[in-house]
Amino acid sequence: MTQGFEADVHGWYGGAGSFGGRFMPEALIAALDELEVAWQKSMVDPTFVHEFEGLLQNYAGVPSMLYEAHRLSDHSGARILLKREDLNHTGAHKIRNVLGQALLTKRMGKTRVIAETGAGQHGVASATAAAYLGLDCTVYMGEVDTERQALNVARMQLLGAEVVSVKSGSRTLKDAINEALRDWVASVDHTAYLFGTAAGPHPFPSLVMSFVRGIGDEARRQCLELTGGLPDAIAACVGGGSNAIGLFAGFLEDPEVAIYGFEAGGDGVDTGRHAATIFAGSVGVLHGSRTYVLQDDDGQTVESHSISAGLDYPGVGPQHAALAASGRATYLPVTDTAAMDAMALLARTEGIIPAIESAHAIAGALEVAKERQGETILINLSGRGDKDMGTALDYFGLGTAGATTRETK
């Protein structure tokens, strides 16, 4: 096993007391234990595995293709492969996680799911899975995010979910998680919390990874088929870190594959307005696990900033913290500007409009490519950009005849 990768029974990655764990109110411990038992039983139950894989194939459109981006490769000097999670049903990797968790919910006999969402992708995925499986669904979303992702709010509502606009704290993803936890404390007997990323208290990081690791397992197989070898490097964006851990999981046992996670550098790490939790944060406890956190000297969480709602989170999954600490993976910041440039570049070179989250991975990989000319770099294109057209419209000044994006690199 790769060091720092498998959790022990208490949810620690990289040794007892290091990263992960379960820092939670006692009222929720029984539910977390129940979830852990149900999950572990299910993962070795052929009926569950068959049902989950069937749903992924026949409903979510998985496996997603591995696409060779010839024009972007020409542009970058490296051979660029894109794992097209943007083509999944609901437009992102998130559907894998929610289908797994919603199936678990049914098995536990619970009738309602709650979820937090930042960009809205996890909320839409949760609302979708709930609609498909006949569960009630409430989604908590920061007020700031409901404004910048109004289309996704409408999607969730159309799918029958109740969307609660969270007005406390910084009114973004972290506060949506707080509010969802408050709901869960009061509703835990009939409600499951579909946690949207590979963070939070044990067993969520391990559980989420088990449902999204198909990204990496498929990509590894597809890369071998396509190129006859493994990639020299893999790259993904990291907010909470679910798409990244899904990709990385397939390659952790391949030491020759370099692993890069790209965090939101916002206006630049030196400005203090960013969400580069691993690169610029410090070790603390947030939302139930010990990990890297953006915090002040007193341990108060500092508000993060990113043009991408999905990366705008001042914590990160404990698996990434452990992978960073062990040196197995490298985490670097990508600014808003670099991400938006990469969004436009991918649109122009490949005819693919990525989510702004995923554009961080593209931008970071293009930087890495400068040092890896001629090598193969596999990037997780974790989501599509339709939801981000409002941001793109403002950023690039689009939407009127004659407008154009600014010159890309």
Partner: protein, 271 residues
């Protein structure tokens, strides 16, 4: 010097009544105003004081305490201000605990926090998001100084976890009466009685004499009397916060409201 809450529980027990535990977050409405409010509660009859350490991500708190804590944070409260508040309140002789989410303690340094709390005369900590199985550092630091370790039990706790938790507590065990966040409720919970009974059964085995305090939802003397009929301590938080929130900018009116509420609750625990 640090005084354990067990002193106050023993005294209440000797009087044949439950102890009244009052909570306010530090720095609300200001650091000095908070000290004034807490000493008002002491003067009016609180047996034990819980001082909240305002935190940016309070997942166990409802809107009332969130609002007060946010006001304190907006006012620039620091961890050192919370310790200063403890020192001022503990000087009255009433056992004084800090109730805190875990990250601020970890950031301050667990051992350093325990020492500074001890030096301030604080009795110990109530830790709403830290359970004993994830608290080895805190338990070591507290035991080295005989500080109170108050962990929580909930209606959803298994008997096994209640036994583990009560065995790790010092001072008292905090029973959360409802499945939910903090906040005053009109009716007391029917989950509290059975939880206290299960907790007391565990205490018989693992920690004879350890008191059980019940919190979450109590807001008046009648509810306090009901809870006092089966618990050793009645913990009140949101109702005190509400008394101050209802009188913004009027310290005298706030003080009068706190006094009236404390007296009503103190009668309740004696009923």
């Amino acid at each position: 010097m640090s005084t354990s809450v067990s002193v106050a529980y023993d005294k209440a027990r000797a009087d044949g009544r439950a102890a009244l535990v009052g909570y306010l977050p530090a720095g609300f409405p200001t650091v000095e105003g908070g000290i004034d409010a807490l000493t008002t509660m002491v003067d009016a009859g609180c047996d034990i004081i819980e001082i909240g350490l305002p935190y940016s991500d309070p997942v166990m708190d409802g809107p009332t305490i969130q609002a007060a804590a946010q006001q304190a944070l907006d006012g620039g409260i620091r961890t050192t201000d919370v310790l200063r508040t403890v020192e001022a309140v503990a000087a009255t002789g009433v056992p004084t605990l800090i109730m805190t989410y875990w990250n601020p303690v970890e950031r301050y340094g667990v051992d350093r926090f325990a020492q500074d709390l001890y030096d301030a005369g604080g009795a110990g900590l109530i830790t709403p998001d830290l359970t004993p199985d994830f608290a080895p550092e805190w338990i070591t630091a507290a035991d080295a100084r005989d500080l109170d370790k108050v962990f929580l039990v909930a209606p959803s706790s298994t008997d096994e976890r209640i036994a583990m938790t009560t065995a790790a507590c010092r001072g008292f065990v905090y029973a959360t009466a409802v499945m939910g966040v903090t906040g005053a409720r009109d009716a007391t919970s029917d989950l509290a009685g059975p939880l206290v009974a299960r907790t007391k059964a565990a205490i018989e085995v693992s920690a004879p004499g350890l008191p059980v305090g019940v919190g979450l939802g109590v807001s008046n003397g009648a509810q306090a009397a009901e809870v006092a009929s089966y618990a050793d301590g009645v913990i009140v938080g949101s109702a005190f916060v509400r008394a101050l929130l209802d009188h913004p900018g009027d310290a005298d009116a706030g003080r009068r409201a706190l006094t009236a509420l404390t007296e009503d609750l103190a009668r309740g625990v004696r009923a």
